[in-house]
Amino acid sequence: MSDAASAVRWLLDQTEPEARRVAVQQIAKVHGSEGPELLLRALGDEDWRVRKEGTVVAPTLDRREEVVAALVAALEETYNIGLRNAAVEALIAVGPDAVGATIETLPRLDSDARKLAIEVLGGIPDTRATTALARALADEDPNVRGTAAESLGGAARAGEESREVAIQALIAALATTDVFLKIAALESLARLEAGLPWAVFEPFAADPLLRRYAIAAAAGSREPEAVAALARATGDPSPTIAREALVALGDTAFECEIGHPLLECARDALLDTASARENARRAAAGGDDTRARAGALLALGLLRSVDDVASIVDALGDDDVAERAELALRLFGPAAVTPLLSVARDSKAPVRAAALSLVASLEGAGVAEVRQALRDALKADSVDVVASGVESLGQLGDAADLRRVASLVWHTDERVAATATNAVAELGARHVTAARALLHESRPGQDPVVLACILLGAIASTQPLLDDDIRVLERALAHDDPQVRRAAIDALAQAESDAAAEAVTFALSDEEHEVKLAAVRALGRLGRPEPLVDLLADARDADLAATTLRALADASPKIALEAARPLVTQPDAAIACAAVAAIGQLQLDAVALVPPGHGSSVSPAASLLPSPLSSAREDVLFSALGHPDLAVVKLALSVLGQKPGPRALARLGLCLDHAEWEVRRAAAELLGQAKTPTEQGLLRARFERERDPTVREAIAAAVSVRPSADGARSSAFAESMRAAPLGAIAGNAGSASSPSKAGGGGGKVGE
């Protein structure tokens, strides 16, 4: 017996549970055949904390085959229930390596143990497990069949292929006479969002026991018959079924564009159903069931009764259902305007503000009536209402409204002032003559430069600025309020003149960070790369570097790539991330190499970078893969993985042997999207060697996921890297990754 095993054994004999729990942690240090035996002893402990520790340790042990065999054998335990349940949990923790042995042992197990084995298979995302679960739907034991059906509801975790297998098996199971199996199958189909034809569920809708589940499962269907059935079910005498139908109908309506034929189909069915309106009104009145209320509001929107406008408007003030309430009112169309404004006038400020915004955006509404309501709102006491009125007047107002809104630019409430600024910009762009007239008006006690910047920005968006205009904006650049300087820069950015560019270039030295960033962006828009390159020469500020690189990309992608090249290997991970992200943004299907506004003799075809990434860009990203900070490496991987060419795929393959598990997992997910035989071979080969359960899971999913037509099911890693703001990525840069996540060998790649 080894010393480590002796020590663990001695500790496991202690009466104190905490001592035994600590002992379990040490089992990972026991090498040899004693490990599995000690693990089973831990899993059979009388204290749940000790057993729990055992399930955590299980996937880290050597001799995995022996461990799995021991755990599978424990499923047959009939005396120690704690051991049996812990074995299930431990096998799930071991993951795909436990699947084969569990399937093999199924025929030898009694019904209780088979049920447990099915639970194991349901807990591991693996296509082999899904197939075994599908077979188990025909098991002789009803409990095993029911558990298999329930487990299949989670098959999508193992990829599209597993999901399809599960759906087909569950549909077949609906033919059974076993009612509980049918219920489980219907529930799992709903969880899988199978989107099946209504004909599949229709036979069960008449069955009092199955009706509820059939209605829920039909929620994903976009067939008129299914939607009509849902609408009719909202009037069901059973509150449970009516509630289920309201929720499902609401979800369906929420996903439809206004004017979609399904909405009219639902409306017709609702009108034909006696209790539908009554049930919807009851559910819409409030209560704790937010989902039912949300569905009911949309049902009332479909029914379009003016009597219901007040209750729907009231729901605008409830954040949980406001979005559905807004859609419900939109379903009314222009007919909602008059009652809506009437109700909103006496409502609380937030409701009135929301109602005004809504009315202003209703297609077909009478402009005169809406404008008057918005102008009235400017005199309200509530800043919420004023801001809402100003915002909407920006979209709907006429030339006369420009002066009204302009007077609010200096409002003491920041939100009103900001909204007024935007509204002036919108109105000014539409009514240039009125904007120019306003420029020459004096307002005692108010700084004219503020309004001038906004108006000139608006004018510049529609026509070239005059020299006189540029001088006003230059004057504004000397203003002591940074907001004014920013507004001036934004206006100058549209001027496309040397004088404007000169003024904006000097603003790069502004002492306020925000103003400096505005100047950087403006130079990008003006197509002036030179000062931006100077700015990157000694980059110390990641935020500034990121903005500068993005602006450079606007001005000249080619120069941006050259400027980013030295930055991706900078020790400061935040700056390196900024550079990699900038290169990622260059990765378009076709990127113009010529700065905007600069004439060129290059042909349109020759002036575009090819996709996938050009070699130069790939080389820069490859060098980022050698960065010591994982955040940089992962970001570079995600960029490379977006549209990888052969060289990038080869480099991703090398990353499967990276020392860090996070990098290996990311590489696996990205390679999984390629779906070529070479990459699949690389993944399968790595799967054999990979010990880290997270990475193994990623590889398993990567080799099983079928690419969907619209690419909607892309990897979680790719999604997370795309969704994460640069600041978040840079903020994590330098943080330690999981140090104990040891796995395959190999050093850093890309060096």
């Binding site: 004096s442 000397a478 270039t505 030295s509 000062p531």
Partner: protein, 329 residues
């Protein structure tokens, strides 16, 4: 135990800490502090230790190098170390030479070349007094009638901002000049103060009363520079040693860099002079403080003798970088 009062009085700058900070400021900002500056640095930076809850100046040195907000702290430190009291119309004799000899000279030269653009850089402008002084002198010279927008100045009462108020015929825009006075300083706080253009009595110790009345107006915080003068001035934050960043305003005809080089060590001084030389148009002039010279620093400039002063001129034939500067390394 170390005594520490609310103002951090008890924290002393030890000799070895002084050396660390001195070397750091020299390498990052080119600032040169002799042994005599130790107590001034201690006095000026002590409040930062209190704010940052640091125990000693060694911790502060570490914070400046590796702290999470080191960049912001550099702004604070440079504000405290480089902010020096200044005032309008400082070094009157040199300003007289500028107004009475240099401005007419540039006016004539530019007219001869058909160029109506005058760019002046006040490098190390502190809180803006020098830049505004230059603007007042340009204004008072009556030679350069700046182009201005009429958009915001067409109210009922004519102001100084209209060309006619400068004495130029409003109907002849081609006679107007593009005048730009750029002020720069390494201190963020100084640049913000310069932008505000509001000054207390101490800044007016050498200002003629008639100019104070015509170019300033009383306000809450003291006296504010009037709009026509402010419009000529543009302020920005920059390190004189950062050549890339100083390119943001093209080339200048006149550079005032007075009492700035005295803070630099030899290497930084050479770098700064190289930057100034590069930023000057051929024929442009550099004005240093009365105690400063380019002796042993640069032979690229030629001396221009004014009636009461000496200034440095970039040869009209000069092209490209300063050929007579030694490699600072």
């Amino acid at each position: 135990m170390r005594r520490q009062t609310a103002s951090g009085d008890g924290i002393a700058l030890k000799p070895e800490e002084f050396r660390l900070l001195r070397d750091l400021f020299a390498s990052r900002a080119g600032l040169n502090f002799g042994p005599e500056a130790r107590f001034a640095i201690e006095r000026r930076l002590r409040e930062r230790l209190l704010v940052l809850k640091l125990h000693d100046f060694a911790d502060y040195h570490h914070y400046l190098r590796f702290g999470a907000h080191a960049a912001e702290e550099w702004d604070e430190a440079l504000d405290l170390l480089t902010t020096n009291e200044t005032y309008f119309f400082r070094e009157e004799r040199q300003l007289r030479g500028f107004a009475e000899e240099l401005l007419p000279m540039f006016h004539a030269q530019m007219l001869a070349r058909g160029k109506r653009r005058l760019v002046i850089w006040s490098a190390g402008c502190s809180t803006g007094e020098e830049a505004y002084t230059i603007a007042i002198l340009v204004h008072q010279s009556g030679l350069f009638f700046p182009r201005r927008s009429t958009i915001l100045d067409s109210g009922p009462s004519p102001s100084l901002t209209t060309p006619s108020a400068f004495g130029a015929p409003a109907e002849s825009p081609s006679a107007l000049w593009d005048v730009r006075i750029y002020g720069s300083d390494i201190s963020r706080r100084c640049v913000a103060a310069a932008r505000r253009g509001t000054y207390t009595e101490a800044s007016f110790r050498a200002t003629p009363e008639n100019l104070r009345r015509s170019c300033f107006r009383a306000c809450d915080g003291g006296w504010q520079v009037t709009e026509p003068i402010r419009q000529l001035c543009h302020f920005g934050q920059m390190n004189l040693l950062d050549e890339d960043r100083t390119r943001v305003f093209g080339k200048a005809d006149v550079i005032f860099c007075r009492n700035v080089l005295i803070y630099f060590d030899t290497k930084a001084r050479k770098t700064a002079i190289e930057v100034l030389y590069d930023r000057l148009n051929p024929g442009g002039v550099l004005l240093l403080g009365h105690s400063e010279s380019l002796l042993n620093v640069s032979t690229a400039f030629e001396l221009l003798h004014l009636r009461e002063d000496l200034v440095y001129r970039k040869p009209i034939s000069a092209q490209g970088p300063n050929p007579a500067l030694d490699d600072p390394t």
